[in-house]
Point group: C2
Chain length 214, copies 2
Amino acid sequence: MISILLVDDHPMLRQGVAQLIELEEELSVVGQAGDGLEAIKLAELLDPDMILLDLNMEGMGGLETLAVMRSKGITSSILVFTVSDDHDDVIGSLRAGADGYLLKDSEPEELLAAIKRAGQGQQVFSPQLAQIMAQALRKPASQKVDLLAQLTPRELEILRLLGNGRANKEIGRQLIIAESTVKVHVKNLLKKLSLRSRLEAGLWAVENNILSEE
Amino acid sequence: MISILLVDDHPMLRQGVAQLIELEEELSVVGQAGDGLEAIKLAELLDPDMILLDLNMEGMGGLETLAVMRSKGITSSILVFTVSDDHDDVIGSLRAGADGYLLKDSEPEELLAAIKRAGQGQQVFSPQLAQIMAQALRKPASQKVDLLAQLTPRELEILRLLGNGRANKEIGRQLIIAESTVKVHVKNLLKKLSLRSRLEAGLWAVENNILSEE
DNA sequence: TTGAATCTACTACTTAAGTGGTAGTTTCTG
DNA sequence: CAGAAACTACCACTTAAGTAGTAGATTCAA
């Protein structure tokens, strides 16, 4: 008997999955959580064999939840179950300690089969993810993270403003520094990111969601 | 008894919702579809009282599906049931003839209540959408469309290239026109869109998905 | 305390962008 | 055919952006 904790902020989907799982004799849902904090609490309390975790949650995101769980020593098998086939989500999940990654548009049979396989200690992945993972193996680290890490806090701040379309003078006013100083930061940031203009920088910022990260 | 057609490309979620609905005596799921074409076929065949329609579908999108249904004379009450609270999706759905708009993170009870109310001919909306709708009433038409329509084909083409981060000289090379001509187009396009720089223009292009359209 | 990193600011340029005006060529429409 | 709209191109500027180098002030870790 495999005990399962469901974590997803859509009550509807939790219900569908739970009912699906309960149809199987060797599987049982022992708890449900609608957000990250609740999930962590229940995981510690129930110590389930498996945790089905959605990534797109309000408040604490799924990736963070996953990382916290592992840091707290939770050893349950954790399967990420989400709609996102985004590269960073897939790779991030694996690095954070996920044992599998399933897409929500899988067929119900696939989900059940995956859970059973994971219950035997195997890693399971939706077949659609094969190419994403293969690609990631070629360049071991996400270049985005590496590049971002090279930026100083000030440069990052200015990069965000570029992503909002700001001119040097405006940035200077906003940060209360001279326009000449802004130019220095822009120049350095362009070099670090191998970009050729503030236009490219602004677009880069948007594409890499620098803006929403606070 | 209200007959319902479920349209969603996630079999899992369809199952959850279907089971939820079947718990109610006066509601019954008479069909399920995983994409737009199938949905239209079933809608014509079954003529259900109500259609629960997801917007984010592969192939033909939900909005398009909705529009086609209405153009085919399908009079079923159509409730959009989706994760997106995007302004354009909400407004677009209403214009296309939706009778309601529910967010997927609603509680199960809310969904059932909404279906019943809609079954009595009322329009139903998730409370979270109130502000979006209020805002839309102030500016009746989506400004994006209007603004875009003012651009000449050449300007639109150059706007796309700005969205790719290109410099004037590069654009000139690519389109085989002089840089001075590119400047003219950029100038005119900035004025038409009320923007102040190519940076703002590039970001605008991305935000309004000018890039992917063709 | 010394060195490294960061933030600040300036000068002095060079290059790119943006503005305003003029004007020739198509192309399409009334 | 006349007029409008689009596309092209250039000149002459002004302003913004980007580059290079120097340098003082903090801060933080070895």
